[in-house]
Symmetry: D2
Subunit: 433 residues, 4 copies
Amino acid sequence: MSAQLTKPVSAGVRRGLPSGSKRAAAESFEKVRKTSERICGPLATEDYVIQTMEDVSPPKWHLAHASWFFERFLLIPSCTGYREFHPQYNYLFNSYYEAVGQRHPRPERGLLSRPTVEEIYAYRQYVDQFMLELIDAAEDEKWLQLEPLLTIGLHHEQQHQELLLTDIKHILGANPMRPAYAPPRERATGAGVPAGWVPYPSGIAEIGFGGSGFRYDNEEPRHQVHLEAYELAGALVTNGDYLEFVEAGGYGQPQHWLSDGWATVQEQSWNAPLYWERMDGRWWVMTLSGLKQLAENEPVSHVSYFEADAYARWRDLRLPTEAEWETAAAGRAVEGNLFDSGELHPRPAAPSGDEPAQLFGDVWEWTQSPYTAYPGFRPAPGAVGEYNGKFMCNQFVLRGGSCATSANHIRATYRNFFPPQARWQFSGLRLAR
Amino acid sequence: MSAQLTKPVSAGVRRGLPSGSKRAAAESFEKVRKTSERICGPLATEDYVIQTMEDVSPPKWHLAHASWFFERFLLIPSCTGYREFHPQYNYLFNSYYEAVGQRHPRPERGLLSRPTVEEIYAYRQYVDQFMLELIDAAEDEKWLQLEPLLTIGLHHEQQHQELLLTDIKHILGANPMRPAYAPPRERATGAGVPAGWVPYPSGIAEIGFGGSGFRYDNEEPRHQVHLEAYELAGALVTNGDYLEFVEAGGYGQPQHWLSDGWATVQEQSWNAPLYWERMDGRWWVMTLSGLKQLAENEPVSHVSYFEADAYARWRDLRLPTEAEWETAAAGRAVEGNLFDSGELHPRPAAPSGDEPAQLFGDVWEWTQSPYTAYPGFRPAPGAVGEYNGKFMCNQFVLRGGSCATSANHIRATYRNFFPPQARWQFSGLRLAR
Amino acid sequence: MSAQLTKPVSAGVRRGLPSGSKRAAAESFEKVRKTSERICGPLATEDYVIQTMEDVSPPKWHLAHASWFFERFLLIPSCTGYREFHPQYNYLFNSYYEAVGQRHPRPERGLLSRPTVEEIYAYRQYVDQFMLELIDAAEDEKWLQLEPLLTIGLHHEQQHQELLLTDIKHILGANPMRPAYAPPRERATGAGVPAGWVPYPSGIAEIGFGGSGFRYDNEEPRHQVHLEAYELAGALVTNGDYLEFVEAGGYGQPQHWLSDGWATVQEQSWNAPLYWERMDGRWWVMTLSGLKQLAENEPVSHVSYFEADAYARWRDLRLPTEAEWETAAAGRAVEGNLFDSGELHPRPAAPSGDEPAQLFGDVWEWTQSPYTAYPGFRPAPGAVGEYNGKFMCNQFVLRGGSCATSANHIRATYRNFFPPQARWQFSGLRLAR
Amino acid sequence: MSAQLTKPVSAGVRRGLPSGSKRAAAESFEKVRKTSERICGPLATEDYVIQTMEDVSPPKWHLAHASWFFERFLLIPSCTGYREFHPQYNYLFNSYYEAVGQRHPRPERGLLSRPTVEEIYAYRQYVDQFMLELIDAAEDEKWLQLEPLLTIGLHHEQQHQELLLTDIKHILGANPMRPAYAPPRERATGAGVPAGWVPYPSGIAEIGFGGSGFRYDNEEPRHQVHLEAYELAGALVTNGDYLEFVEAGGYGQPQHWLSDGWATVQEQSWNAPLYWERMDGRWWVMTLSGLKQLAENEPVSHVSYFEADAYARWRDLRLPTEAEWETAAAGRAVEGNLFDSGELHPRPAAPSGDEPAQLFGDVWEWTQSPYTAYPGFRPAPGAVGEYNGKFMCNQFVLRGGSCATSANHIRATYRNFFPPQARWQFSGLRLAR
């Protein structure tokens, strides 16, 4: 469990001439940066400081780290006369870049009361000001060089926005008082739809990123794969579906579980998804709006790969591969319950014609595909690209984004990945056969 | 390593009629309560929240726990119509009283961002107001009953004031930025005095508390012990003295160490007292005023029993027993560099005639006496007295108070105790032979 | 690290009518059973008892467990009047079959001095006698039912023969006296051959088992994959090749390693393959014939996936996928330095025309393929097939067998698998590009 | 938990001229040496090899270590022309003597299959032969020098004889088959006697060794202590007495336990003494003769200090101090159920007049005294005396010997000591008030 959980955002790729003007870039920059701060708006100062498990980082660390990225990879190399805001911040806010020096140990991020939250906001402001000056002053040639790094930095910050939300949820959820992050939002309460099966034929498919625009390098190269005929469920597995597994005693029956999964269930005393709790004969679930009763028609969330896989076996079905998922998602519009909806919670499925519903948003969908290199993949050189393939071991691919993912950050070829025991993300599943 | 580190203050004893009037009691109450808040004055909100090791509690926890004590043992039983400030605070702020219900695990005190610092100050104010009303309204008979509990509660809070200071030091000392708690204070910089030997004769001595006034029950009963003739060093061991041991390679030589001590040295990679660090060829030491150069004439502090004992063996000398120490301290005025001086750091010894200097204040003095029951000791009944003898195992007695101990909290018969590996207190040593 | 390391041998498949007569089956049975005992011939009684790490089992456990398999899955269900040899052996010698009851914890296999080695040999004899009677007495219909289970049981025992050898090596290698298992054997000392590249074209390939005869179910179904053009090294990586990586400081440079691999290197203080040690300025290596000097032209062995992968990255090359390896091996004769040669140590490559040398035997070859289900794979029902897919998580596929694998146990479609940190098997690598 | 559990036998003291002739010494030597081998007589080879927890050593290790002591401290320094039996045995069989070089880690003693048991018996024979020659050939002056070391070596071996028995019990007791070490022996089955109280007056007592003959240095110097009046129970606490505590739920009630004891109860899931097990509604206990039903009139054994202390608190009584115990035992004959009786199991108390029964033998009696230095104690110099005071931390004193202690090894001033959680020795308790 470790550094890899903050993803190697560094390995983004942006070929060709910059399509956006500098003005548009500056606007994007300001918008993304403000979004991070807006996410932290409801927090008390105390919420910014603690680390409730090794995977979680204190919110103030996220705010500082995203700024450190711009300072380290843009301002220091490219901004003449720039002075680091503080000489120790490189040590404190580097996440896992071995090439840029020693760093503070990840499990000790919650042992730092200083710098204070106020100081970190000052750090952000300082970096923002220099970044905007840097963009403004860049000559054409320099801009060609800066723009891809800027784009990576913004996608990096968007990834940390999702982590901010899931880490805040964990910080508040670990508190016996179960405080709410934000008041519940008025939501359409659809009744859900029956999850019919959508068939796909056998044959050669192409997957991987093949167009223009931003993508991470793990999405390339585009390549051919051979698929057998398969079917995908028309909707995500719901709380109600999953509750049947729980109530049938699934967490006590080794036969459904991977061997490592069964060991984890026993060591961690798992008996339901993360954030579920049983009180007074009913099931409750911690949300970003505090405790609420389990809604059976909502997609199940906060399950690990082990749980997703065990559930599918128990149903005598399976998880899709990432190639199957991507083939289904290719060409579909990126629409759904994403961060932009503001709901911050998965919502029941709505009818979707002949196509699978909920492909984008709500919850990340575990696939049965281990996270590996596409054929012909080669890591990019240098510190920003240091870790392209570094996490290709003991992780599984998730697809489609969640209710905490920005719409302009996700796409059909996007490969997220987590270890099979991780479950503090908005992670759920769709069945295949 | 555990709950026992917050001492069983509960077991205080106060016999006979209350000598002070209710007014005096109310004044004491207000003074002690304000002192805790004054100690926290220089903290940033973030400093209140974290727990840098299991022994340390977040400052906001100390503030709440000391209030919980008054709520639980005085207001709830005795104040008609009192309503608990919050239904979950009994769970969150109980330290180790098994008789009053389940409690939040000690190692997870730093995982609570809520209640906020502001809410805890409101809790204190609420408790203070009801306590003052309770004192004011108590009839004579009730007051006879309340006054001993009030006295215990205030001594309890004074103990936590010392822990607040040592925990704050640890929280700031664990931060790579080494922030200061308070600016350094002008101090007399005595040159120290040579540590001559003060002889004491053989014979029967009496130790333990035998007068009137407040004492913890572990100081009783007063009883006879037989002492061989001995000598005590006239002053505490200094940084300079101890540095000779460090530089002679003492931390690499098993022959000086207890077997468990040597194991600890290797496991923890100890090579000097806590808070010492070597930079640029010189020794520095973290203090409540930040990093400063090691002053050789100051008493060594933040050593464990293992280190104190190893140092004494290396000098071919030994630590005193608690009976030897108490015999020397009996009848001496409680004067020295205590919390009341405001220095919050041990100071060099000043000449002291024929008597040992520095008996009170500066640093707690490790004795070679394991913490055990005095002959005839019997635990008091009930929850407040629940744990009288509960910690009499694997701990050693320290005597004399430190620069973080209030003058009206310490006395010649006072028995402090910590496990032999603990060293985040202001703990040092005096040699004997 | 756990039970999965004894492979799910249970999932073998044997369709159609039995081709061999009962006499041939009985002969195979006796031959395989005697081989296990012959492997243990050179052991002292003491060597049978201990467990030097969790992955290792005591040799006497292997001998008993392989017998337990026949008792549990053949004798008890099918042999009328059979009485278990001992009522507690089912508890003691079950490996990981959840469906057949509680079992002794794997990490405590070395805490059992009883049953004695002599008793276990008596157990084997008892089982052998009843097995031969069962085979002899089986009517045709019953034989049709028994024969596949018998075949699985023999393959199971062959797997444990390889584990016996690697576990014995670990037991003797962990002893500071470095005792030899057997005297060194006269060996041809080829000079090795240059590892040229063998090219393979792009296109659709078929992999997986598709013929008749025994196979494990994870080799099925046979299916199509799309391969890009690739090249395989003509020989295994040698000690000399790998030594360059060691001497270039590869174990101290994070950039070559997977993130989890780098963590393992640091936690375990790895600085060379298992069994390498540096003394008097030279490299030595523990073998089944005791310590000998490192031979540069022999294949490197006892490296983990992490090390194989890091080495390949350092050479700016990669490991093959299992599909690439199998495509190269398809149709090749199963010939090489296998258990049957008796050498029990990898040997230098000999020229091999235009084909890759050393595909079978010497060392298992790590591939870059995580161990997953082939498309359409479905676990078989029942206890013997309980765990078909149970280990498909956090493991990588190895191909080709080693000098400890029986020739009649290996084939081109055989999929071995171990976690990426495992290295006590004869595991090495071949480069691809 | 560690090296200290093999006691610092090295620190024995033998002043004045040797009283015994060399012939008597040689006879003692042979007798003690043969006793160790006789103890191991019933073992299977496999029983000699394993280590069921860190405190336990494999029997073959004890046999070799006791020989190593003679080799290292007598033969190598004093026997001209002596050649070490094996160059690596000093590394393998040193227990905790830092001054005589590196040593094999204690927790890995069970990972050594070699040297074999046969080789260790050859080692013993080799050492015995040279020892007898050394004794025989020693001139007077040399003999004066050798005799004390020889005496220490024999007492050392006697200590290991007791450990051999308790370690064998643990090795067999950890085996689910619960094998017997030896057949049960015909025993007098006394009905036990009521445990009346024996009073002792207040005053100055003298404790510690003060005569001639062998003693360990921790028994010196003899010194005065002041005792209040006290009473000792006339017999040991029995299984029946203790069963009341178990059945009253004592293992689930924190109020009886030391804080560290309660933590241990929970971590280790203790619910009765070691070796007790409940089957079919009855209590059974593992003995050196295998499982037998709990006999209520036998002394309780295999309890830790934590359990002894909790039991005494539950009875509203206490454990004696070591000074109280020694005062009662002074002048009494060393008689009781010791190793020499051959019973190897505690027996019910027999009437004993006005004196406490069972002071010697049956079970070691926990006292409430932490193991500390007597006033004026000073460690002896040199490697043999290296560790005199090394274990004076976190251990409690036990007195009186057990059914596994040789009669000529125990005396009224003998101080045994173990950490408060240890319970694999024959340790029980007597109450005081």
